[in-house]
Symmetry: C2
Subunit: 234 residues, 2 copies
DNA sequence: CGCCTGCTTGATGACAATCAAGTTTAGTGG
DNA sequence: CCACTAAACTTGATTGTCATCAAGCAGGCG
């Protein structure tokens, strides 16, 4: 499963799993079962923007949103993250987003200082960290294109296709059920729209037979080709 | 000088200069004067989106824009880059943007395969690459907030303040002249607006005394405080 | 000096935000 | 298990804002 922070089409799942390095290779951390696992309920905050970075989080299960809030309360969700994604990449020593659990979530955390020590002696871990950052960067660039230049229909189409890749483990079968763990408001704040507009586009796609809405939080893709064309995703 | 891909306020210049590592530490590349320097004229393309990545580029002088083009010609500029910034970070083996010189530009390039070899033996270089990627990621997140949730006035204010930090070497004196090497259309395509809207906001800020336009491509900041408030940049 | 490109300003209209009701869903307690 | 409540979602009507269309203006380069 990959981050859907991205609106990238040709992206495939990239193996992250820092635990492999920190536990199996380096044995720095105790086993997840022992100490470095945390659980969050839906709605709980995992980290706050501008806090000093002490930990790096790896999602074990669940879905997490990251966001920034402006003075007057406007919110931009900058990404959705799920199993194996990494949260809390450090820049200038501070988190550059807040993160909140959308569903009940389990994370594995690693202390940053240990991580930095490890990087010195473990080039494979360093390579992995670089890859993770680059993938997130690539995904975020795709999202810039959505927010800056795509119309509401196109943004939603892009988002739905990303949801599919995110939900579906392997080759997506035409009729596989895709789930939307986040609210309409979350989707709106991710796509730079209002929840009303998101609703209307969902309904429109449903009526047009591009998707079939099973419930507010589940749908299937009925016309992937047309959706891809809308998404400008060749 | 830092990338102004970012709309980040509290960001400071981060030293990149990969040459330090590749030349002084590792002596892998010949001296810049000899072989790994390239020059581009204003308007020339440096790299194309979706091309296989062979090189990493470090800007020596000049200003570069990166962008993505949609099917029907809509363009999103994803960042402006200048001295010491790195272009061509690899994700999934392909460049995820095209890059074009705005002014005459000199770059120093490094082959990716060499780079990867170096990473294995040089943890400091790895650390540097990670930092660069994280900074770019942080900057891009700030830009997501601009595009998704800020109003045109606020986006322009954010942009102008970034231009100041980008132009000004050190502590910005109130009246220092800031230059805009990119066209109004470039600015518009960066901010998700039209060039007409950008023009109008520039004029409005000029009339209101927030800035003083010296020419189409030069201005001074007259009321930084008010601009910062507009930019939602505490 | 004159043209051409880029910039600026104005008039108009489309589209998404806002405001406002309803409707459905999920969660809680009897 | 079902009734009740609150939150989330959906749909409709109206408004405001920014894109579009259009026309001058100016500055830079041959």
């Amino acid at each position: 499963m990959r981050s859907i922070a991205l609106a990238k089409n040709n992206a495939v799942k990239y193996p992250s799993c820092l635990s492999t390095f920190t536990q199996d290779n380096a044995k720095i951390f105790p086993h997840p079962e022992v100490r470095n696992i945390l659980n969050y309920h839906s709605g709980q905050t995992i980290l706050f923007e501008d806090d000093t970075i002490h930990y790096l989080y790896e999602i074990v299960t669940g879905t997490v949103k990251t966001y920034t809030i402006l003075n007057d309360g406007r919110r931009q969700i900058t990404g959705f993250y799920t199993k194996d994604d990494i949260l809390g990449l450090p820049a200038r020593g501070r988190y550059f987003y807040s993160a909140e659990a959308i569903t009940d979530t389990t994370v594995c955390y690693h202390t940053l200082s240990r991580m930095e020590q490890l990087l010195q002696s473990n080039p494979d871990l360093a390579q992995k960290m670089i890859e993770i950052a680059y993938h997130q960067l690539s995904d975020t660039h795709a999202q810039l294109v959505s927010l800056g230049r795509k119309k509401p229909d196109e943004r939603v189409a892009t988002f739905l296709l990303n949801c599919q890749r995110w939900t579906t483990i392997q080759v997506p079968s035409q009729e596989a059920v895709v789930s939307l763990p986040m609210s309409r408001l979350d989707i709106a704040d991710y796509l730079g729209l209002t929840q009303e507009t998101v609703c209307r586009v969902f309904s429109k796609f449903n009526r047009a037979g591009l998707i079939k809405l099973l419930s507010a939080s589940q749908f299937t893709l009925k016309d992937q080709k047309q959706l891809s064309a809308l998404a400008q995703t060749l």
